[in-house]
Symmetry: C2
């Protein structure tokens, strides 16, 4: 009988499928068989519809012989912390289980070239798809990163993460580290290692190179173009996933990337960055009672009552244009600020700055107590507000902190070249 990892042909009433039989993931409690097609995509086929499963080729038993890695005293040490996502997914057909790249040896096996730039330590701290990342995970990540940064021999930390919410995590970590003595580099992959076009290898090696630099920031390291020419190192508070599947999906918005990173170790600095602080400081206190709400024509303003009723402390609105919302929402904001709920305004345009003074409707919004978040990305304003409300609940102080540039999230001088780039 065919087993996971075998190349098979599955015949149903309507089709013939050709591919590798996949181990049954936990999620499939239903009666289906999962096949990885030659295209690299997986499909599920209802067992009832299967007429025949023909074994074409048995899977090769892969022997897990791992070389012990020698310490190179001339090189810095980088800690790789893995949390799950595409970059650490690797299906072991022989054993039939899904396991993630976890040990230093696993990473070296994946991309031996990383040893040219650093000694590698590695630890699996979470196993989670990024769409399921939550508050507790952010705190776990921050604490584990702190532990590594505090080790004298560690030059920097690489955190592997699913790409979907990688930019949320990156900016949250930025705010959680008011001071940072070493670089923290988040990296992900848009395509898994079993696909020819996988970006895992180049992203991984680039992130290790980035983690050896003297930069005191949380950053995101991902493919810069649709070719394999170099990676961008983005400021965590200025980056966003802008494409569902492209390898160069991550783009700096209203800001230049900090640097280009080449796999030969070259790092080309593109803009100002923060030098490392003397010591690393961690503050994981966040207020979870914060929401992010998209504003659109026809929006029911009563949806905001839900947050009032649930005793939320803050709401970030994604307004239109310069930060506009319909008149009926302005009324609701007045009501909310009177109840001491912080209302922040960002723009769904993503690019550009919100303003509280250009049009009379905007001035009205400001008088209603709304806080305009400059050129901050909505996602960044959302995590920042959680962080700020973790520090203080005083409206005036919250406003002051939200409009203060804490971690590069506000750019006072946006260049014309920072648009769609």
């Amino acid at each position: 009988m065919a087993k996971a990892g075998d190349l098979v042909e599955i015949v149903t009433k309507d089709n013939v499928y050709h591919g590798i039989l996949m181990p049954k993931p936990e999620i499939f409690k239903s009666n289906s068989v999962v096949l990885k097609l030659d295209s690299g995509y997986n499909i599920g086929i209802d067992k009832k519809k299967i007429k025949k499963i023909k074994l074409i080729k048995k899977a090769k038993k892969t022997k897990q012989k791992k070389k012990k890695i020698k310490l190179n005293k001339k090189l810095p040490t980088v800690s790789i912390l893995s949390t799950g996502g595409t970059i650490s997914s690797k299906v072991d057909y022989a054993t039939g289980g899904t396991y993630a790249s976890l040990t230093a040896e696993d990473f070296v096996e994946l991309e031996p070239k990383i040893l040219e730039f650093a000694n590698i330590r590695a630890k699996k701290i979470l196993q989670i798809m990024s769409e399921d990342v939550g508050y507790a995970d952010w705190i776990t990540m921050a604490k584990e990163i702190k532990k590594e940064l505090d080790k004298k021999e560690v030059a920097g930390v690489v955190l592997t993460h699913g790409t979907d919410t990688l930019h949320y995590t990156a900016s949250m970590l930025s705010f959680m580290f008011p001071k940072l003595s070493k670089p923290v580099v988040l990296v992900g992959a848009q395509r898994s290692t079993d696909r020819g076009s996988s970006d895992t290898f180049m992203n991984l090696i680039s992130s290790v190179i980035a983690a050896t630099q003297k930069i005191g920031e949380v950053m995101v390291c991902m493919h810069a173009t649709s070719n394999d020419d170099f990676c961008y190192l983005h400021r965590a508070t200025k980056v966003r996933k802008m494409h569902t599947s492209r390898r160069d999906a991550f783009r700096s918005i209203n800001q230049f990337p900090i640097a280009k990173v080449f796999t030969n170790g070259m790092v080309e600095i593109l803009t100002d960055y923060k030098k490392p602080d003397e010591k690393t400081e961690l503050n994981t206190k966040i207020d979870k009672k914060v929401a992010l709400v998209y504003v659109y024509p026809g929006i029911n303003e009563k949806i905001l009552d839900y947050y009032v009723k649930q005793k939320y402390h803050g709401v970030v609105l994604m307004g239109t244009g310069l930060g506009h919302v319909p008149k009926k929402i302005v009324q609701k904001i007045k009501f909310m600020t009177r109840k001491n709920i912080v209302v922040c305004i960002t723009s769904q345009c993503l690019y550009g700055r919100t303003h509280g003074f250009v049009y009379s409707n905007l001035r009205r919004l400001e008088r209603a107590g709304a806080i305009f978040c400059e050129d901050m990305l909505p996602e960044v304003a959302y995590v920042k507000l959680m962080h700020v409300l973790g520090k203080t609940k005083k409206l005036e102080k919250v406003k002051e902190l939200m409009q203060e540039n804490l971690k590069g999230e506000i750019n006072k001088t946006i260049s014309v070249k920072m648009f769609m780039n």
Copy 2:
């Protein structure tokens, strides 16, 4: 005493302001004076703080002598319908009132060159800032457009609109006109006519040129670059405002613009477009019980209960990446679809396609009954779902229509060049 329109100097305790005294807008019931600074921005100054208002130069009385426009029988006729927004705002300092460009003569006075390309008819159908546009306005616009298109002498319609929600209106109008015998061109301005860098003139003339073309689509005509070189003519269902203030804020997403329009009348076609239909058909039936919801780490899934309780018929989710949502939201979607509420999945990445089959979490979503909206923009999926639910409430039919390319909203062959362009 200084009057509205006069150049003045206002001295307060801390500052001296130099600018044109503005007529007091309705909104300022407070005791403030509005001054238009040389930068083009307006500021409000508290009357209590004013020490002195010095008159520098009296406003010139502008005489409203309007030339009667002669009909040029060699040229086509374009109807300009105005609805408000920056493009039709023009402060008349002499009379002190805010009035909008409404008559054909007003538009010709604004940009006399339009008479080289078309005879102009004009009508003010609404006076509204675009952040306040709602269902009723969409229906008003569609009906007024239909009236103009039905006139034999009219070659096409230009609709002037505030830019904030212009793309929502444009795609709604696309769906409301299943058949279109003439072009409908939406146009706005990012900067008002009293600013040197105003895009009003070039956008207006380009939209008139566009409205004389043989194209059976609703389109958006706006500045293509940060220079005054040409305008883009975008497909209504593929365009989005991507910058809060730039003149070239409108970008085609997952699609090329239909054409470049030059102010000398040249139109350079860039991609396929729809030829005019024999007759125009209008269907303004929409279902208002539809919501658009942003998905993010930490989202409270109970927010969806609000829409269940309020008996909504459809919700469009802006998921992460390929269309992911947290597990707890998947459970909620199951519950909603069982209650016959349509749940559509789009991506907050904006660029790229959503998928229901790549990752197991996505397959779970699909089994929960969610409809993946291909490469549709979230805003477009939102107005499309209103339109589709206006036609049918049968889930299978809704799914079929949502995944069918009705008005160019789905692009099956996204080119690599359609990213960040």
